[in-house]
Symmetry: C2
Subunit: 300 residues, 2 copies
Amino acid sequence: MKPRLALIGCGRMGSRMARRWLQAGFHVTVWNRDREKAAALVADGAVLASTASEAMAACKVVMTMLANGPAVEEVIFDSGASADLASESMLIDMSSICPEMARDHAKRLLQQGVDYLDAPVSGGTSGAEQGTLAIMCGGEASVVDRGRPVFAPLGKVTHVGPHGSGQLTKLCNQVIVATTIGAVAEALLLAQAGGAIPAAVLKALQGGFADSRILREHGQRMVSRDWRPGGITRYQVKDLIAAQEVATAEGVGLPMLDQIKDLFATFQEHDGGDLDHSALLLELERRNPPQRVGDVPDQI
Amino acid sequence: MKPRLALIGCGRMGSRMARRWLQAGFHVTVWNRDREKAAALVADGAVLASTASEAMAACKVVMTMLANGPAVEEVIFDSGASADLASESMLIDMSSICPEMARDHAKRLLQQGVDYLDAPVSGGTSGAEQGTLAIMCGGEASVVDRGRPVFAPLGKVTHVGPHGSGQLTKLCNQVIVATTIGAVAEALLLAQAGGAIPAAVLKALQGGFADSRILREHGQRMVSRDWRPGGITRYQVKDLIAAQEVATAEGVGLPMLDQIKDLFATFQEHDGGDLDHSALLLELERRNPPQRVGDVPDQI
């Protein structure tokens, strides 16, 4: 028997996840602050709730997919909706929020007999559509196991540790993503400066040890100079700052993280905030005027 | 008709490449400074030459796979062997040397009517064995095309620009490899410091945007604490310095490259030079004493 699901947050990611669940035969009740986005899912079989509380009270498994921590805080807790969660229900927060806040949410919900998992994802809208998301899950093993049937249509779930560990793993993901983007951007700039053909270099590196999803997807964006997001630079900056905060709290110095955060933050200050994070190449070009790096046009 | 090949340099990479050619039906004459390594290939069908000159004079296509630039300089040029290259033959240098030197070798050989390609590789001994190397090739397009049948048994060749561009691309490869290793090491340290399980985090990240060959292979080495090379730290330092030299010569500032070179160079100074480059994690642990990062044993 499939549990009834509530989904709070039907944006770019949430709406695609809802369709995966509906296609898999789940009963899904949806709510979104901007009602239109939730209503659009009714045609796919979703039930529209008029308030978050109404959606949550009707279901044993409540999923949240909201923009950030403050949004989760406001919609679930400050609104009083959390009080309407049935005891023995579970809340699975798939939003990306800071690990500290996830641990706080876990504690508050456990006090009223509601189980909690933090389960942020990587893989973007294409991963959500195709059910190939990487889902990083923090919480108790038995609760993770109860959640597995719900995660199955979305992608691969991995239990990474106690409450907050899922969010911490998402930050680790962002550290690697941001740093790899920086490495690919520097490599392509070096290639161009030294007289090689960046598009050919990008192709040549595939299959070797430098190969990665970032090389293929974000490297291609750099070569095509396609800066439409995708992953937005100011979210990347926010995540890197959150990772630095955890590192500072734990007394760990991470020099590559510090360097890539500075690069992305400076890029944001130079009007890059709304571009795809692959556009970090523009920040490197800004620092290295075009007359010195061959024929790269000055795009900022 | 397959051209007769000479292979100068039958080490860990060269010997595996020779076997790929022999299996593909090429006639291969081999020479190596340490004769035993070349002689070991006779059982596979190779012909053993007693000098580099002898091997080179007998073949229209000469491949070199030596340790570094000075070794190529010594074995091919200083020894006088280059004078014995037949006119209208071609020398394909698959060693990793600096782009400047590759351009010089190209020029010197062209003066005696010998074509030249720089064609370093990425993919390691496993890539050489399986014929899945990424081959980064610099030179004239028509010469690259003549070389394609010879490259075919080894992996995927990409023409990346004029002479020296193959070597430049290899440096770009190393910038990405080194930086990604740094990112994965920092992410795993952050995960452990924050209370997640590094081995599970490594698994969770696979399939998301952080996924890469480095994450899977070198991340696994970090979790298993297996520092047997693989890719040796001091070679990584050498390559990163070579990349910095190109960047400086072209007037390009690359902050991520500078940061990762400093990290690897410091690790080398702390006795890490002979370990696999994934052991950069040890350098980060050294900077972050174990009592502050959970239960990581102090391994240096």
